[in-house]
């Protein structure tokens, strides 16, 4: 049945080649320069075809999960599709965490998995897994190619699906006999997807209604997210332009950082569970909320029935299922963020819309009062390094280089989001939706592959980094001078923080006994190892790290008891934030809050 879809009615006969050659040719025709993978029995023909050419580079990872995270890092820092190649069975199952991560954060990835030959499928063959079955819920789409005549079209379709609309991971499962079989090749120009046409431009009537709402606002707030980043750098420029045109305050989600410059006075900082006081209170008190490319995630909204109770909400999203999913909105606009922003700017100008200057002035006064609370302040004194201070100094000493930052997951991730200012999109790679510990190191490898001359730093915790530490070997092999900046407090800090807040300080299994000596470990892998244990050593170590032209592991010993604030405890509302340790005792977490994650 599927063969019939082939749109190619080219006059000249199609080139014939083996399945493996078709795969490589299709990747090159899709503009792929680098892929991340790990060989195995079921992909040997593809590796053989890879060996016979020089145009496509391959990065050999040490674990398939890392291959996907590397591809994600590559994709997020370039806007291109990341490509993964793994074998059948364990190769595919190891990739599942990475695929889920890419799905949750809408990252375009094409993952090629080997499969046992078609006649063995279903026989419990060696290294067989039902890859399409396993990956169905953790991909945007997946394919099992059972006919060599479908292969070229499937490859091109997969790239189209991965990058179009709301991007996401696509798996192509490739039985070994298909890789050997000979078949026709057709180029991307001949392939048009049968059904999938995401809506890019918004309905013009909705744009007019949006302008009505935006112009009439007295206490407006822009709340923007990863959809703006995914739409391309131009969307970020358009957002910045529109925000400046209106003079309205703007907050960004964890996924959206960099969409408007952090240094812009209209930027309120990140919002949500560990967002700033001013951003969360502006959300709470707003009368008009303009959500562009964010999805009302539970880390953002806090308690839903107390979320921004008085605002009229506009929601722009390319995925219709994001609209009215968690929070009912007055005006849902389906479309690509960049395209819709262009439409909004055009309509704003054409209608000569003007904000309510007097109301806006009062609104800003309120916001500046909140901002004056200086919710991110911390007290660095003495020898012990505060984790916030470590990250702040890293920012101050590297900002002139516009570094690419990846992170692992936990307290250090939130501090990085709070203290690192991003002036541009695509410079911030973090696992937002899935919260995957072990993301940052492989992601940094992918970023560094795409930007060989740029500074790439993985801000890590000592627990997370051990989840994919083997990838140091990958970095060394491919001469990728990534920097691993470990904020080492010897605890799974975020787990410990929650145990302190919610479980009476019973620190069950959150202390890591027997941590490795990270300096020796770096040495063993062939990286540079550095350490700072006192505040006075910090700057020197950071400078040394920047200078090194090899992979560096920096072990920063920080205050073991520091918690991440501000914080909206689970089950609480935006105006019930905890600003610091003193607030904890006053506002115990509700029982409903405890069952939330």
């Amino acid at each position: 049945m599927a063969q019939q879809r082939t749109a190619a009615k080219a006059a000249e006969p199609a080139q014939r080649m083996t399945g493996a050659e078709i795969i490589i040719k299709a990747l090159l025709d899709q503009g792929v320069e680098v892929m991340f993978g790990y060989p195995g029995g079921a992909v040997l023909p593809i590796y053989d075809a890879l060996f016979k050419q020089n145009a496509l580079r391959h990065v050999l990872v040490r674990h398939e999960q890392a291959a996907v995270h590397s591809a994600e890092g590559y994709a997020r820092s370039t806007g291109k599709v990341g490509v993964v190649l793994v074998t059948s069975g364990p190769g595919a199952t190891n990739a599942v965490t990475g695929l889920t991560d890419a799905l949750m954060d809408s990252i375009p990835v094409v993952c090629l998995t080997g499969q046992v030959p078609t006649h063995l499928i279903g026989n419990d063959a060696f290294q067989e897994a039902d890859t399409t079955g396993i990956t169905r819920p953790c991909t945007k789409h997946n394919y099992l190619v059972k006919d060599i005549n479908d292969l070229a079209r499937t490859m091109h379709e997969a790239f189209y699906v991965a990058r179009s609309g709301r991007p996401g991971p696509v798996v192509i499962d490739l039985p070994k006999d298909i890789q050997f079989a000979e078949g026709p090749y057709e180029g991307p120009a001949n392939v048009r997807h049968r059904t999938y046409r995401p809506q890019m431009a918004a309905d013009p009537a909705l744009i007019e209604r949006a302008i009505d709402l935006i112009a009439a606002a007295k206490k407006p707030v822009f709340y923007c997210g990863g959809g703006v980043i995914n739409s391309g750098p131009e969307a970020s420029e358009l957002l910045t332009q529109f925000v400046r045109q209106t003079g309205y305050p703007c907050t960004l989600t964890l996924m959206g950082l960099g969409a408007i410059p952090a240094s812009d006075p209209l930027f309120l900082g990140m919002l949500g569970m560990h967002g700033t006081y001013q951003a969360n209170l502006a959300m709470h008190e707003a009368d008009v909320m303009i959500n562009i490319g964010a999805r009302f995630d539970d880390r953002i909204t806090g308690r839903l029935n107390a979320f921004s109770p008085n605002s009229r909400k506009i929601h722009v999203d390319i995925d219709p299922s994001s609209i009215n999913k968690n929070v009912p909105v007055e005006l849902g606009i389906v479309g690509d963020c960049g395209t819709v922003l262009k439409q909004l700017i055009e309509a704003w100008k054409r209608r000569k819309a003007k904000p309510d200057g007097k109301a806006l002035k009062e609104w800003w006064k309120k916001i500046e009062d909140w901002r004056a609370r200086d919710c991110l302040r911390f007290n660095q004194s003495g020898d012990i390094i505060k984790p916030q201070h470590a990250i702040k100094r890293l920012y101050e000493l590297t900002r002139d280089k516009a570094p690419f930052i990846t992170t692992e997951v936990g307290q250090h991730q939130m501090w990085a989001a709070q203290f690192f200012g991003f002036e541009k999109p695509n410079h911030w790679m973090t696992s937002g939706g899935l919260g995957t510990m072990g993301y940052g190191l492989p992601a940094a490898i992918g970023v560094q592959m795409a930007h060989p001359d740029k500074l790439v730093v993985d801000i890590a915790g000592e627990a997370s980094i051990l989840m994919n530490i083997q990838e140091l070997s990958t970095a060394v092999q491919h001469r990728l001078p990534i920097k691993i900046f470990i904020v080492n407090n010897q605890w799974m800090g975020m787990v410990r923080q929650w145990q302190e807040l919610l479980h009476g300080g019973r620190y069950s299994e959150s202390y890591t006994e027997a941590l490795p000596d990270f300096v020796k470990l770096a040495d063993a892998f062939g990286c540079v190892g550095l350490r700072a244990t006192k505040a006075g050593e910090l700057d020197k170590v950071i400078k040394e790290m920047i200078k090194a032209d090899r992979p560096v592991v920096v072990d920063i010993h920080v205050d073991k008891t520091e918690n991440c604030f501000p914080m909206i405890p689970s089950g609480a509302a935006h105006n019930e934030m905890l600003l610091g340790p003193a607030d904890e005792a006053k506002k115990p977490v509700s029982e409903e809050g405890m069952v939330l994650v």
Binding site: G133, R136, R194, T195, I323
Partner: protein, 177 residues
């Protein structure tokens, strides 16, 4: 903004590419997101374009139903999602086969009820009947409960199929080539 929290039953028609795994994709979306399936039918309806039609009966609040439709719509092989319940009048039908075993008076009573329901006898032995009934789901359920005391031993139902009333089609059919 007021939110309608009433739970309603909706019949949704989904036109999909008839390709391997499509049913698993649809069913997986329902189970993965915790939505309810009351009935589901599927068969190819357009041989030229290789399209199948899935009719799914589900229930939920307005927001949930909207969400189900959007989640179905974003599956890549889905061509069209139509909420027959909210898009105007439509016809719903289901087909039922029941096996009733027994002898004597019960058999006569069975045939009388079958007659009232316009059920057809599609198999008959000296101690059993198989009846075929078509109609709305409630009618089928009524038939089952009447047959229960008369020796009903087995039931097979197709689940609901549905189509909108009027001259408009859900989408254009393939011309074939």
């Amino acid at each position: 903004m007021t939110i309608d929290k009433t739970i309603r039953r909706h019949t949704i028609a989904v036109i999909v590419d008839n390709e391997p795994g499509i049913l698993a994709r649809v069913v997986g979306m329902f189970s993965g997101r915790g939505y309810n399936i009351e009935s589901l039918t599927v068969a190819e309806v357009d041989a030229h374009q290789h399209l199948s039609r899935i009719t799914v009966v589900t229930s939920g609040t307005e927001m949930i139903i909207e969400q189900i439709k959007n989640q179905l719509g974003r599956l890549v092989p889905v061509h069209k999602v139509a909420d027959l319940t909210s898009e105007g009048p439509h016809v719903e039908r289901e087909l039922l086969l029941v096996k009733v075993a027994g002898v004597g008076d019960h058999r006569v009573e069975c045939l009388r009820i079958a007659d009232i329901f316009r059920a057809r006898v599609v198999d008959s032995t000296t101690e059993s009947f198989v009846f075929e009934v078509t109609g709305a789901s409630e009618k089928l359920s009524a038939f089952i409960s009447l047959m229960e005391p008369l020796g009903l031993i087995e039931v097979s139902r197709t689940g609901v199929v549905a189509i909108a009333r009027g001259s408009a089609a859900i989408m254009k059919r393939g011309a074939g080539n």
